[in-house]
């Protein structure tokens, strides 16, 4: 494996990137939970952490890009791997945007909707688990290709679950007696939450494409 040092380094960086993106989203979930409890000061600190972690993910992505385009992997696979890294990085960006939304715009979440909002955040940002599972499984080669693909499909299923929650919550918001401007604000907040799972699904699709192309 001495001759394939670059490839080994890329895989190590990809795994590191995945860990950082996961950390970014789990911190995002904590940020939201703390925000809901009303501890704005602590939530602010956590949101700052999310920003820092996301920047760290960006730096790893740049490193991966440099190594890939210095000749690691065959050209066709190289492009696809980089697209996968970009797609996973987009998920972290969406997580950062979502956490910033709460701390920057401070949406007022009515008591009766808190549980549903919490479920939406937990499901949408928690989608990182199956995504990480499928990426790690594929990169390490510890499980058969079919298992990696199965995990990638699970991301899609989880994204559908988030869509259902968002649908119900949207209905609840717009059938409530809240001010119209408040409703729109909550809907914007909801959009920023569901965007995380949408992008995670895109990343899973890209992973599936990489897996398919690496198969004979």
């Amino acid at each position: 494996m001495f001759f394939f040092k670059k490839e080994k380094e890329v895989v190590e960086l990809l795994l590191k990137h995945m860990d950082v993106v996961e950390e970014c989203l789990t911190t995002g979930i904590k940020t939201f939970q703390t925000y809901l409890k009303g501890d704005i000061r602590e939530a602010k600190e956590l949101a700052k952490q999310v920003d820092k972690i996301e920047s760290k993910a960006d730096l790893i992505r740049y490193e991966i890009r440099d190594k890939l385009y210095a000749g690691a992997y065959l050209p066709r696979l190289r492009e696809d791997i980089y697209r996968l890294v970009e797609a996973v990085d987009e998920v972290a960006n969406a997580g950062e945007t979502c956490s910033d939304f709460f701390l920057n715009q401070r949406p007022v979440i009515p008591e009766e909707l808190k549980v549903m909002f919490q479920a939406a955040v937990q499901e949408s940002l928690g989608i990182i688990s199956p995504l990480k599972h499928s990426v790690v499984c594929f990169l390490k080669g510890e499980c058969p290709i079919q298992v990696s693909r199965q995990h990638a499909k699970e991301v899609g299923l989880k994204e559908s679950d988030v869509d259902h929650i968002v649908w119900d919550l949207t209905k609840e918001i717009f059938t409530s007696s809240l001010e119209y401007s408040h409703k729109i604000h909550l809907k914007l907040c909801l959009d920023s939450i569901s965007r995380v799972s949408d992008l995670a699904k895109d990343a899973a699709d890209q992973l599936d494409l990489v897996i398919l192309k690496s198969m004979v």
Partner: protein
């Protein structure tokens, strides 16, 4: 000694054009550097020519019982034809050019020896077909092993990269073993060189072409082949190398370019995709006729002029 100039010309042309067929994909995919590729091609071309070059040398030599001067005119004409076709960016086979030149000169000295021509023509036609069959056979075999043994992306990539280099080395070996007869076979026929001398001189001429002028063609051809996925590029390169090596055992020089095209078509048939354009196939078909015909006419005319001015014998 100056009579060997024709051999140098055709050897140089062959080396500068055909190095791309064996290592084009590897270089375009950054698997190895251009400099490393040309050194490897040169080494393996020389090894192939020295170890097995004599096998095809006999066929070309026996088809070209001619004078030393005629041997020069034959190689020079084939070299001119190859250079002219390459200049027009048309695919050209040195095997077909040299055979055309030998027959063209044979028209002057008497009736050319057509007895071995049928075998040669058959081998030309079966070169792309053979490579196609090999790639159809090899793809599923290697594909199964690939899927079962190499489980992670890193191992798969490492395998394909190594396999492309190994297939390239084998391709270069086959190129030397098979095509050196195109460069110096006629000198053996005319008694100017022994088969061993011809192998040494021919392979050095090819290596000269590889080392000095193969970059442009390698980049062009390589990029086309590398549009395939790595595994398919490896299978088509390996199939082409096996086919050319097979025809070395039969003793007939064939076109490596056409073998590569055959290999690529074979991969496409498995995947149910068209990997080679209709234009390329038509060009191969036309090349079977136009290359030996043009080279034959050039050799015939040059030999006539040569006889008039130098009073030489064909």
């Amino acid at each position: 000694m100056w009579r060997l100039a024709g051999g140098v010309l055709i050897g140089w042309g062959l080396g500068s054009n055909d190095a791309a067929n064996v290592f084009g994909a590897g270089v375009a995919a950054n698997v190895l550097k251009y400099r490393t590729a040309i050194i490897l091609v040169s080494i393996f071309v020389i090894a192939g020519a020295l170890l097995e070059g004599h096998k095809s040398m006999d066929t070309v030599g026996e088809m070209s019982k001619m004078s030393h001067d005629a041997a020069f005119v034959a190689t020079f004409s084939a070299g001119l034809c190859v250079s002219f076709f390459s200049y027009l960016s048309l695919p050209v086979s040195t095997s077909q050019a040299i055979m055309g030149a030998v027959l063209g000169i044979g028209m002057i000295s008497g009736i050319p020896d057509f007895s071995r021509l049928y075998k040669v023509l058959l081998c030309w036609v079966f070169t792309p077909i053979g490579a196609m069959i090999f790639s159809r056979l090899l793809y599923p075999i290697f594909g199964k092993l690939f899927g079962k043994i190499l489980r992670n992306i890193q191992m798969r990539n490492a395998f394909i990269k190594s396999a492309l280099v190994l297939a390239g080395c084998y391709g270069a070996y086959s190129l030397g073993a098979n095509n050196v007869a195109n460069v110096t076979g006629v000198y053996v026929g005319s008694g100017f060189l022994t088969p061993f001398q011809a192998s040494v001189f021919g392979s050095l001429s090819i290596a000269f072409g590889v080392l000095t002028y193969s970059k442009k063609v390698m980049n062009t051809v390589g990029r086309k082949i590398v549009e395939l996925d790595g595994f398919s590029a490896f299978i088509s390169a390996l199939s082409a190398a096996i086919t050319v090596h097979f025809f070395t055992q039969v003793g007939v020089p064939v076109s490596t370019s056409q073998a590569v095209v055959g290999g690529v078509i074979g991969v496409g048939l498995i995947k149910g995709a068209r990997t080679v354009s209709k234009k390329t196939l038509i060009e191969i078909g036309i090349g079977w006729i136009s290359t030996p015909l043009s080279s034959g006419i050039i050799a015939y005319l040059l030999m006539r002029i040569y006889i008039v001015f130098f009073n030489a014998a064909a």
